[in-house]
């Protein structure tokens, strides 16, 4: 079974891509509208939250991550954790040394 998925991959129907595209466009609309309202410091938090949600859809569906093995998911977890460590330590440094 697993051999088959390795060689041929998962065929995602066109309709699913259209649905994901609609979701991405809707999220874009929300970000632009939210930025226009002026939520102060929450604007950036909301913008990053929506960008992350959009990334989740792109990674899982367009990039087929959800149809890949655990190895791929582990890879991406390691990459994101590494990046999160960079960010955390940079801001840690900035918050306490300035």
């Amino acid at each position: 079974m697993s051999e088959q998925t390795h060689e041929h991959g998962h065929v995602v129907p066109y309709g699913k891509y259209v649905f994901i595209w609609l979701a991405l466009i809707a999220f874009t609309g929300i970000t632009v509208t939210a930025a226009g309202i002026g939520l102060g410091n929450w604007t950036i938090v909301l913008a990053l939250a929506i960008a992350s949600a959009k990334s989740w859809f792109v990674l899982n569906y367009f990039m087929h991550l959800r149809y890949e093995d655990a190895v791929f998911k582990t890879f991406i977890a390691v990459a994101f954790i590494t990046f999160a460590i960079f960010i955390t330590f940079t801001f840690w440094d900035y918050s306490f040394t300035r």
């Binding site: 051999e3 995602v12 891509y17 226009g36 960008a51 792109v58 367009f62 801001f91 900035y94």
Partner: protein, 207 residues
């Protein structure tokens, strides 16, 4: 076990799974490349909040929004091209790839007009007008040119990949039974889309 039934070219040594894994590993180096720039952006924005807000007013949100829609749509057509070739519909796959390339061209055309307008207004790295501005605004525009420029370079490389794949489809080297190169090119294109998903709000939507 069941792979021999599916793979007509079984005698050819190939490992699609490994190819995709290699592509993902490469994409992580891209993530760290842009990630480093995003950290620089985060720190400077944290230090120069007011000036970043002021500088961002100069950008045209409509152009940014248009390019966001263009890239999201092109990502969809690239993903659909993979489905098309998996289903054996080679003509449709080629058509979708051409549409993707056209969208990329439209993105670059927008970028060209956008940058031209900025440069026309005297805002470009090292320009006298820019250097007369406060430090935070200089940093904002420096990052704007470097990050969107590096991203635009990736758009161009993505187009080159797709044109190469179109040629290989024509030569019968990318087929409904062997399409991992198309998959990997699409993965690259989705990464270009992913990066823009963050660039757009961080540069165009600061109010």
């Amino acid at each position: 076990m069941s792979s021999s039934a599916h793979t007509a070219v079984h005698h050819v040594h190939r490992d699609d799974y490994g190819s995709r894994m290699g592509m993902w590993l490469f994409l992580f180096t891209e993530l760290i490349l842009f990630g480093g720039l995003f950290i620089v952006y985060a720190v400077y924005r944290f230090v120069h909040q007011q000036e970043f807000h002021l500088a961002a007013q100069e950008l045209n949100t409509v152009v940014g929004l248009l390019n966001t829609v263009i890239l999201l749509t092109s990502s969809m057509t690239a993903a659909m091209a993979v489905t098309a070739i998996q289903k054996g519909n080679v003509r449709f796959a080629k058509g979708l790839l051409w549409v993707t390339v056209l969208f990329a061209g439209a993105f670059m055309l927008n970028k060209y007009f956008e940058w031209s307008a900025k440069i026309h207004h005297g805002i470009y790295p090292g320009s006298p007008d820019l250097l007369a501005k406060p430090e935070g605004e200089i940093l904002y525009f420096g990052l704007y040119y470097v990050m969107t420029g590096l991203h635009a370079l990736h758009v161009i490389i993505g187009v080159v990949f797709f044109l190469f794949i179109l040629r290989q489809i024509g030569q019968g080297k990318v087929t409904p039974t062997s399409y991992v190169r198309l998959e990997n090119s699409a993965l690259y294109w989705h990464l270009v889309d992913l990066i823009w998903i963050f660039l757009f709000p961080l540069f165009y939507l600061i109010h």
